[in-house]
Amino acid sequence: MSAAAPETPLIAIVGNPNSGKTTLFNLLTGLKQKVANYPGVTVEKKIGECYSQHGKKLRLIDLPGAYSLNARSPDEAVLRDVLLGRRPETPRPDRVVCVLDSANFERNLYMAGQVLELGLPTILVLNMVDVAEQREWRIDAIKLSEILGIPVVKTNAISGQGLIELKLALSREDISPPKWQNAALPEGVKAALEHSRDEMRQAGVIHTRSSLLEPLYLLSDHDPTHYGIADTQIARIHELRSRMETDFPGWEDALVAERYRRIEELCAQVLKRPDQEIETITTKLDRILLHPVLGFVNLLLVLGLLFFLIFKVAEGPMGWIEAGFGQFGAWVEGLMSPGDFRDLIVNGVVPGVSGVVIFLPQILILFFFIGIMEDTGYMSRLAFIMDWAMSKVGLNGKSFLPFLSSYACAIPGVMAARTIDSPKDRLITILIAPLASCSARLPVYSLLIGVLFPVGEVGAFVQAGIMLGLYSLGTLGAFFFAWVFNKFVMKGSASPMILEMPSYKMPALKSILLQVWQRARMFLVRAGTIILGISILIWAASTYPKTAGDDSAKQMEHSFAGRAGKLIEPAIAPLGYDWKIGIGLIGSFAAREVFNSTMSVVYAVESGDDDNLAPLRDKLAAERRPDGRLVYTPLVCISLLVFYVFAMQCVSTIAIVKRETGSWKWAMFQLGYMTGTAYLLSLLIFQIGSALGY
């Protein structure tokens, strides 16, 4: 937002997760927002523009939702660092809008209190007043405003109630710092913090005018990645922290208790609520949706609907996209004169881009669905129901949906892992997600199962059984590796599963659609650019060097791809594959379903159409090695199927994993462990099977 004049005030929007903070931000800024990541971390940075009720231009920054400034995740560290003015690329906000969920007023006051302690001019927003009213919680906003000496506004972000009052408050430039006394620190702790502050100042960790809160939050940083703190300073901060722990055991816990004591005092003055919790829509719905039997049935229905939407409803638009690109390719073919450039466009660029865009309907549907589930509050219930099962492999309930989504496509699955707040669980979920058999494997499975058991010999049931077996194998593999990573690769403290169960509410559709659009755009731009490059490379590899004549099978053999197939033949021969399968494997690294079309070219079969696998299947089944033995023996087919279950063969996913984990390191680790496992298992199957005489 460099275009904005420097005097445009920057206003931070902060609040607990589920407080309706982002809905309010979207309501205020609309489409005038810019989404990026904070440098060096996968935390979304959203800055938008809006006008106050008096027409003054304002810049709004939507900071990550958090329960405390005492950071436990990179998200919370970003919040802490922005509010303390520790981030070089984000100026310290001039004012703060602190959004509270009125129906969870007391708990929400914890972080609000921490924000008030910072002394920035603050507007308190009591959001979701309608839900609080259902619970018969009455908050005296006028009194609260008097006590704190700051504006307090009641809103309902879904109906837009209170928005004008909020915009009026946003126009005020005379907001004074809140009258909220900082939590009392015991003398010893205070002295120790002052000492730490001096040291940190000298080391340049904090700026010279820093209050005691900055060393306090840095010393109590629980973010395992210590995001925002330079590596060279971490050791010193650790030392200071352990000294604090020895000198004043439990000082942090005492501070929390002290803050809640003051919150209780405040609540006694401004909050009236019934002694007994009264029946609300939420308690009634939960009796059904979290019922041991009905809850599970409902969950299956919800997931069934999701899969129906992703596989069946998305089919239509996916077909249109494919047809559209096909027609575009044909149109270009007619327009340009024959030559390599036309070939590049028609056979490289267009199918490559089409291969990415085709996933867009699934991604849009999935993110819309997830948005609805999160916004209504059902997502927490889903995590509650699935937590026990996920805990057996060391994950938590929040990993369930991203993993499940990966059965459609790992890309939205990996992106959906953003909803997991524990960085470790999120990373493990991303690492195992592509082991779910995605829809791109389906055509390959169908082809090879068809070769393995030609129709007529065995019934459709056996074929379906094998298909189910492959899906189970991938799922078991995913759980196995989740367990391994949890146990051996990513040690460090297991983060506790603490799940808020928010009140149910109507989804804010506009806000959800805006987020869906932002995700989709990110996918198109990031995955699109990488896959475009790769598809040009693969096109070039199978086009050059050229042979004379029109025999596409000969051309393939002579090309770089063909040579590469022959080059890797010694490595894949122990798995039972020849160089022609090698070409298919290499092509599959662009996308798995490319195996079918590549093999059609390799064997010069007319139709490589997914809908009609018969010609290719028969060709494969009849293919013989130079010595006369069959190439696709049952053992080779099984070895190849297992390879496809485990191997990481999707550049789009690699690109997204790189983006979501912030480095190539984990993307390469994933590529290595998955493909390594695939290789080893296929090797074992073929070698043991051969030794047994199959």
Partner: protein, 76 residues
């Protein structure tokens, strides 16, 4: 009377008596409002024993037995 929150039956409430200090997994629970002296009640338990859903300061939270077992309680 059950000794910890993990043993508290569904539908009953108790007062948090003590929590061990210096455990970072408990710090977050404290920040979510569970501090000694607070009233907590158990709303429900998942079919297979965990997680449990509790109500504290009018907010509903879920946690596993592992964490709940650290929270010593006394009669409300």
């Amino acid at each position: 009377m059950p000794a910890t929150l993990a043993e508290l039956p569904v539908g009953s409430s108790a007062i948090v008596q003590a929590m061990p200090t210096g455990r970072s997994c408990l710090t977050r629970l404290r920040e979510m409002g569970i501090v000694p002296g607070t009233r907590v009640s158990v709303t429900r338990r998942a079919p297979l024993g965990e997680p449990i859903e509790i109500c504290v300061r009018g907010s509903h939270l879920s946690m596993r037995n592992h964490e709940a077992a650290f929270i010593a309680i006394s009669a409300a």
